[in-house]
């Protein structure tokens, strides 16, 4: 047990040492404390306000369980997303000292619980008991007991996920898959409040309510989510938040079962962490799994030319580079999220396709940064900028075409627009428009990626965040996003002329589709040519910039 206490003391010693060493760390820590105290004060104020009168038990229950569970999942996800940076208390750093796995696992859990975030969280949840005042002292006491249990559950689950990820994600392929799953999971979790709010508002206020779309989240009817909350309360994420409600309703059997769920979760997590530590210890230094590929792969199928080489190289990298692979999942997410929130309006689902085309090549707008110093091979070989751009465009335009057409077919099937009539015409117009937008966005990307580059995380540490990234990452993609619609000015003028002459009347609006497609293709051709010229002129400068970015990733 002395090892456990030592690890807890070590945690605080390291925190204090870090603050002594760097004033920036101290300032950051103080800001963190202030924000934490602010959150605690907010929870306390809310709890006392709610507790002063008897709230609607149904809504109160659903809100508490769902919000608590959502926060618990968020805490776990944030820990996972920071995994790539390496934790100060990484188990590998204790490898030299021969600490038994159980003690080490317990020590790391205790150190996590002794940290400021855990303490603040516990205090906030303890203060939340004030919200139960109107439901009697038993409920208040139950919440006081549930508060540390909720934090213990969150911490146990976090430790298990981190240990399992560290243990399982050894190979390059495994790390890539883990990154993609983590990012997609995080994006989906971030969408949950919006989906819940939208769905609930839709169910309750959709018809004839002036409040719809104005009060937004304030109008959420948590009562309608009581079924979801009841189910959630039987999971490790919601069980601790359900305990005071079980006491309120006298559901002693359910209370016991949920305490058992929490106990089992903590115990299983601890066993899992110990098993992972043991496996790490026994396999340390073992060679990482390597993947063997037979033959040339994509290099056997592309054009027999320098641009074919670029095309094959990029295709191979898109499969093996998690930073870029994950972005290709976004169009499906766009369409799915739009479909969930469409409430029967098919045009909104089709808007998802349009957005997919528009945003599909945000990463390509910084494509040379993703290539990194590997781009030096092209400079060394004396490959022309046009060959580079043409190779990239050939692949990416092909992907966009296939991807958007499959999505369009799925939307046609989902909305029923395939049956014909106006729905089909609208669908085809949106499809051609999305393709045009994607091609134009790609053309824009081939130009901006040569002049407006910003640092990206290393392919080996996709979760890390290189210095100087935030500012440029916010601004440069904006240029691409806003610039793409400008490329549609010629098409816009043609459509306006067609509109004025009445050519679009009588259901002939579908003409917009071919015009947008032609406009997009012209923008793509222009972007490829101009990007190639720029790359020829700036290749050494690009290489120098990439060298600078590489030093930021170390």
């Amino acid at each position: 047990m002395s090892a456990v206490a030592t690890i807890v003391r070590l945690r605080w010693a390291l925190t204090i040492a870090a603050m002594r060493k760097s004033s920036a760390q101290t300032v950051g820590y103080v800001i963190g404390i202030v924000m934490g105290l602010g959150a605690v004060a907010f929870v306390a104020a809310l709890a006392f306000a709610l507790g002063s009168h008897r709230a609607d038990p149904g809504q109160f229950h659903a809100a508490t369980v769902l919000t608590g569970g959502f926060l618990m999942i968020s805490v776990i996800m944030v820990q996972v997303l920071y995994l790539g940076q390496g934790s100060t208390l990484s188990p590998a750093k204790f490898a030299l000292y021969g600490i038994p796995d159980r003690d080490l696992g317990l020590g790391l859990l205790a150190a996590g619980l002794a940290g400021l975030p855990s303490i603040m969280g516990t205090v906030a949840l303890l203060l939340w008991s004030a919200a139960f005042r109107s439901f009697g002292p038993a409920a208040v006491i139950a919440q006081l007991v549930a508060a540390p249990l909720a934090i213990l559950t969150a911490m146990s689950l976090s430790k298990l996920v981190i240990s399992a990820a560290t243990t399982l994600v050894r190979s390059t392929r495994g790390r890539n898959a883990f990154y993609i799953i983590a990012v997609l999971g995080f994006v989906l979790i971030c969408q949950i409040p919006s989906l819940v709010a939208n769905g609930t508002i839709g169910a309750t206020n959709m018809v004839g309510s002036p409040a719809y779309g104005v009060h937004g989240v304030a109008d959420i009817e948590f009562g309608s989510l009581s079924g979801t909350a009841a189910v959630f309360a039987w999971t490790p994420f919601g069980a601790a938040f359900q305990l005071p409600f079980d006491v309120m309703t006298g559901a002693w059997g359910a209370l016991a079962a949920r305490v058992a769920i929490i106990a089992a979760t903590v115990a299983l997590c601890f066993l899992g962490v110990t098993a992972c530590l043991r496996r790490d210890r026994l396999t340390v230094g073992a060679a990482a799994q390597t993947v063997t590929v037979k033959g040339l792969g994509a290099f056997g199928h592309t054009a027999d030319s320098p641009s074919g080489a670029v095309c094959a190289r990029l295709f191979t990298y898109l499969k093996r580079d998690p930073r870029q692979t994950v972005l290709f999942a976004m169009p499906i997410l766009f369409v799915a999220l739009m479909a969930i929130q469409a409430h029967g309006m098919n045009d909104i689902v089709w808007t998802g396709l349009l957005m997919s085309g528009w945003f599909m090549f945000i990463a390509e707008g910084n494509g040379l940064s993703y290539d990194g110093r590997g781009y030096a091979m092209e400079v060394i070989a004396g490959a022309s900028g046009f060959d580079d751009r043409r190779g990239r465009v050939r692949l990416l335009a092909g992907i966009a075409t296939a991807y958007l057409l499959v999505l369009a077919a799925a939307i046609l099937a989902f909305t029923g627009d395939w049956r014909g009539g106006t729905g089909l015409a609208v669908g085809l117009t949106f499809t051609l428009g999305s393709l045009g937008l994607a091609y134009a966005a790609l053309g824009m990307a081939e130009v901006v990626s040569v002049v407006l580059m910003y640092p990206v995380p290393s392919i080996d540490k996709p979760f890390s965040s290189p210095q100087g990234r935030a500012m440029a990452q916010g601004f440069f993609p904006l240029v691409q996003m806003l610039g793409t619609p400008l490329l549609f000015l010629p098409g816009g003028v043609i459509v306006a002329v067609l509109g004025f002459t009445g050519a679009l009347a009588d259901g002939r609006f579908w003409l917009i589709g071919p015009v947008a497609l032609a406009n997009g293709l012209a923008a793509l051709a222009l972007g490829t040519w101009l990007g190639g010229k720029l790359l020829d002129a700036r290749s050494l400068s690009v290489l120098h910039t990439l060298d600078g970015f590489a030093s930021l990733q170390k």
């Binding site: 390059t172 590929v293 290099f299 320098p306 080489a309 191979t316 091979m377 060394i380 050494l540």
Partner: protein
């Protein structure tokens, strides 16, 4: 402060570039901010030579090689490869030479075979020919078993070898290698040397930069000693060594050796044994001893040596 980008006048002979040489450099200048990295450097490298470029850290070797290979634009001067000016058609010059990329300048998520095919196709070679040559190179470098593995899973020595192979895939007439043997184990290093010597014997020109003087003396037919962005001495290894050990000659030309600082407390435990441990304390006097056999002053730059046919050292292997 203004920086004079004109070639250094002291000791510089305005000899025109030699179009018959593999490489002919005249008055090359590069200034980074206010630091002069290369200062009017002039050099001729004969065809078929194994040429070593040596010098202390920051002497300007890598900067010179980068300007020679079209990876860095010079501020002044000219660089000619096989009679063609590098910077008038830089891509044509690049196709005539093979530059070994650094291990972090390759796409290491490709397999070894894919990387070689990529390097060949980028240079406009036909795929079937590239594949044939790639397999030959993989075999020559003992990488056949690793052909299907991603380069990121290679060891440091294997990565160096695949980097060298990417520079050879198009059978260039000149190979430019910056520190090719750094972090390579002795066995791989010996194999690399064999391949390079064989290449030079068949008429190829190899230019390497290195800090390892023994290696240069053993492998190279010619050597140039670079210091402060200028050539201190150039010619065959024997000419530059001038009857001495090349490393001693290098020290004479470059200078910079000074007496070992004697730190009283850093005594390896001997002081404690005889009872006089760190008696003078941390501020105790130190008396540097002047080394013997070192000429302190650097030599003035010598004019470029006339190209001479290469003669490989007997003990090269």
């Amino acid at each position: 402060m203004t920086v004079n980008t004109e070639p250094a006048s002291v000791g510089y002979v305005p000899v025109p570039p030699d179009p018959s040489a593999a490489v002919s450099i005249r008055g090359l200048v590069k200034v980074f901010d206010r630091k002069v990295a290369v200062d009017g450097l002039a050099l001729d490298i004969p065809v078929g030579s194994f040429y070593g470029l040596v010098g202390p850290n920051g002497a300007g070797k890598t900067t010179t090689l980068n300007m020679l290979t079209g990876l860095l634009r010079p501020d002044a001067g000219s660089a000619m490869i096989l009679g063609r000016d590098v910077w008038s058609d830089v891509n044509a010059a690049k196709r005539a030479i093979g530059v070994m990329p650094q291990p972090d300048q390759i796409f290491d998520r490709l397999t070894g075979l894919q990387l070689l095919v990529y390097a060949g196709m980028l240079r406009g070679m036909r795929r079937d020919e590239v594949v044939r040559r790639a397999n030959d190179l993989l075999s020559a470098f003992d990488l056949t078993d690793a052909a299907g593995k991603m380069v990121t899973d290679y060891s440091a020595g294997m990565t160096k070898k695949i980097c060298l192979a990417t520079a050879m895939i198009h059978s260039p007439r000149i190979l430019v290698l910056d520190e090719p043997f750094e972090s390579v184990d002795p066995v791989s290093s010996a194999n690399l040397k064999d391949i390079l010597l064989e290449y030079a014997r068949t008429g190829g020109t190899v230019i390497i930069s290195s800090h390892v003087m023994a290696l240069v003396e053993r492998m190279c037919t010619h050597v140039a000693i670079v210091n402060h962005g200028q050539v201190c001495a150039a010619g065959t290894v024997d000419e530059v060594a001038a009857g001495e050990d090349l490393e001693d000659r290098f020290m004479q030309l470059v200078g910079g050796r000074h007496a070992a600082a004697r730190i009283d407390w850093l005594n390896g435990g001997a002081g404690e044994a005889d009872g006089s441990a760190a008696g003078t304390g941390p501020t105790g006097p130190t008396e540097p001893t002047a080394p013997t056999g070192f000429a302190p002053a650097p030599q003035p730059m010598q004019p470029p040596q006339a190209a001479q046919p290469p003669q490989f050292p007997e003990n090269a292997r």
